[in-house]
Amino acid sequence: MATPLAATPAESGAAESAAARTALGTAEQLALFRTMVEIRRVEEGLVRAHQNGLVHGACHTYVGQEAIAAGVCAHLRPSDVVFSTHRGHGHALAKGVAAQEIAAELFGRETGCSHGRGGSMHLFKPEVGMMGTSGIVGPCILLAAGAGYSFRLQRTDNVAVAFFGDGASNNGAFHEGINMASVWDLPVLFVCENNQYATEVPYHTVSRNPDVAAKAAAYGLPSVIVDGNDILAVHAAAGEAVRRARGGGGPTLLECKTYRTRAHSEGMRDAGYRTAEEVNAWKERCPIKRFRSHLLEAASASSAELDQVEREVDALVANALAFAKDSPWPDPAMVTQHVYRSEGRAGGSVG
């Protein structure tokens, strides 16, 4: 079962990215742009709603990391599955959960994608392959690996994706899940969004190897490092990895270097552990701003077209928030429904 070790990270990514940059059509590029804008605008709306007390509990936004969810999920079918983290709104949107269902969920309403049972950290919509975000750091890696195992058994060519942060890479789940996915060639894409902090903890203080992708060598699977704020680079690298997984070539570890430009969680302090200069420098590298410039420079789209996309998204998000606010609360009488599939004296007659 021994195979050659992974190529050093980054190489393949860089090469492929250049190729794909040219290959992508205008409609596809506009779709990527739209997804990123939608994620950004939904987050901004949720932030306001959180400040107004309409969103309860914790709320971790995806602002600054939009290119990753958008670039990866563009390659996925509804039957492909995504398992995500506490910072999962972007993944849910990119995987096809409607903005209004996400807003309603964070508002705690019956119309939310988890019927108000989940909130920000528990977004479920299996119908489109959104298999859940998680308040616990780590498990998504294992769940995705297991979905990959299922797909192999079922002889489908579906692919499973785990999104997780740099913080998760020091967790045992990373080690155990990636190792097994590698030895069994499972159709999984492990996407590490290295935004360089876990809450307030800089990655270099909790790992002596600054590159998560480099750790793939321990498990013998291919890995790539990409600029996570460059949508085309992410899209290209993810495309290659998804194709490999779908074709039976096994898993890939994709590290996207990025940054969150808001606080870890809404309402938390955002000073003391990083400088304003650092944050501002990364705001300059905003993936949406950069892609907008690129599209204009490459004459792939006009300013008017992009403005139009933004207006459409604004309307959609305004509607989503209004929908959420007007939605009914869940019925407390139903609160224990779905704990078990089989109620009372279970089984016996099942079949």
């Binding site: 599955v81 398992f83 988890s114 019927h115 049972r117 989940g118 528990h122 479920f124 299996p126 119908e127 298999m131 859940g132 998680s134 308040g135 616990i136 780590g138 498990p139 890696i141 294992l142 769940l143 995705a144 690996a145 297991g146 979905a147 990959g148 195992y149 299922s150 797909f151 192999r152 058994l153 079922q154 499973a160 045992g172 789940a173 080690h175 155990e176 899940g177 190792n179 097994m180 030895v183 069994w184 429904q337 779905h338 704990v339 078990y340 599939r341 089989s342 009372g344 004296r345 279970a346 089984g347 016996g348 007659s349 099942v350 079949g351």
Partner: protein
């Protein structure tokens, strides 16, 4: 009706289910070509191959998390822990993912996963290989818990477990694995939540769990000679728990003893006692008593090990004491 051992009955059942449903698969250490440390999968690897009998690295958290992801995507994993003690490294996944995904997804995901393992005190296995843990799984929402004691129930409950959409902890007491009994052939399903009244009696109700069932039956048989009539109930599943059968029995006997190898505090005996004193207070003619393993890590040395579980003498004495109340 064939006569077979507990472990063979469970294995026959697994074989039938794997033949019936190609989405059933097993993950565990040594459950492939080796056939399982306790022979739980002997002969199946040859029939179903390495994908459906998957030997795994020593990464309990990892493969439990994987099986959870697999169950959520349409297959039916059976995790074979060998010693159930090894489940402990996977508690985070089990409690927060396996047990909750159905609820969090409002029933759109199902979780047909069986967590099986051999458990219990005996054979000088020492403290890392002697635990049971079922009270923890009864406490937490989202799990079903089965503790069969006869070969027929091993088969019938495992079959139900594999077909259920809910996570099931299926526990096999090491001391029962090689006990023999008659087992219905083919399709034999025992529902969860139906106790087995292992012996009828009128003076006292003894609820016994797992390895304590044969032990309590032995005592009941012996006491019959002294004109003491003990009803022995084996709940078979602890979640759901068939409390009605216990209440009905206590209604007739007025006295209740619960005999359990695991720890007393917040254990299954406490739960049964609490339900009975709540719902059948007027039926009770005496205090409710529990007999449990001592509250200590399990020691290795045979005489120490024997001292931590309820003996037949202790059971007999508890019954006599309770009848004198």
């Amino acid at each position: 009706m064939g006569e077979m051992t507990f472990v063979a009955a469970a294995r026959e059942d697994l074989d039938e289910e794997m033949a019936r449903d190609p989405s059933v698969f097993v993950m565990g250490q040594g459950i492939g070509a080796r056939g399982g440390n306790f022979n739980t999968t002997m002969g199946l690897f040859e029939k179903y191959g390495p994908e459906r009998l998957r030997d795994v690295p020593i990464a309990e958290r990892g493969f439990v998390g994987m099986c959870t992801g697999a169950a959520a995507t349409g297959t039916r994993p059976v995790v074979d822990f060998m010693f159930v003690d090894f489940i402990l490294d996977a508690m985070g996944e089990l409690i927060n993912q396996t047990a909750k995904l159905q609820y969090m997804s409002s029933g759109r995901l199902t979780m047909p996963i069986v967590l099986r393992g051999c458990y219990g005190i005996g054979r000088a296995s020492a403290t890392h290989h002697s635990g049971a843990y079922y009270p923890i799984f009864v406490h937490l929402p989202g799990f079903r818990v089965a503790v069969p004691t006869t070969p027929a129930d091993a088969k019938g409950l495992l079959k139900t477990a594999i077909r259920l959409e809910d996570p099931v902890l299926f526990l096999e007491h090491k001391s029962l694995l090689n006990t023999k009994g008659s087992v219905p052939e083919g399709e034999h399903l025992v529902p969860f939540g139906e106790a087995w009244v292992a012996r009828r009696g009128t003076h006292l109700t003894a609820v016994a769990i797992g390895s304590m069932v044969p032990r309590t039956l032995e005592v009941a048989g012996r006491l019959a000679a002294e004109e003491v009539s003990v009803e022995v109930i084996d709940p078979r599943t602890l979640a759901p728990l068939d409390i009605d059968t216990i209440l009905e029995s206590v209604h007739r006997t007025g006295r209740l003893l619960i005999v359990d190898e695991t720890y007393a505090p917040c254990g299954i005996g406490a739960e049964i006692a609490a339900q009975v004193v709540d719902r059948s207070f007027d039926d009770l003619d005496a205090p409710i008593r529990r007999l449990n393993g001592l509250h200590t890590p399990i020691p290795y040395s045979p005489p120490l090990e024997a001292a931590v579980v309820p003996t037949t003498e202790a059971i007999a004495q508890a019954i006599r004491d309770l009848l004198a109340e």
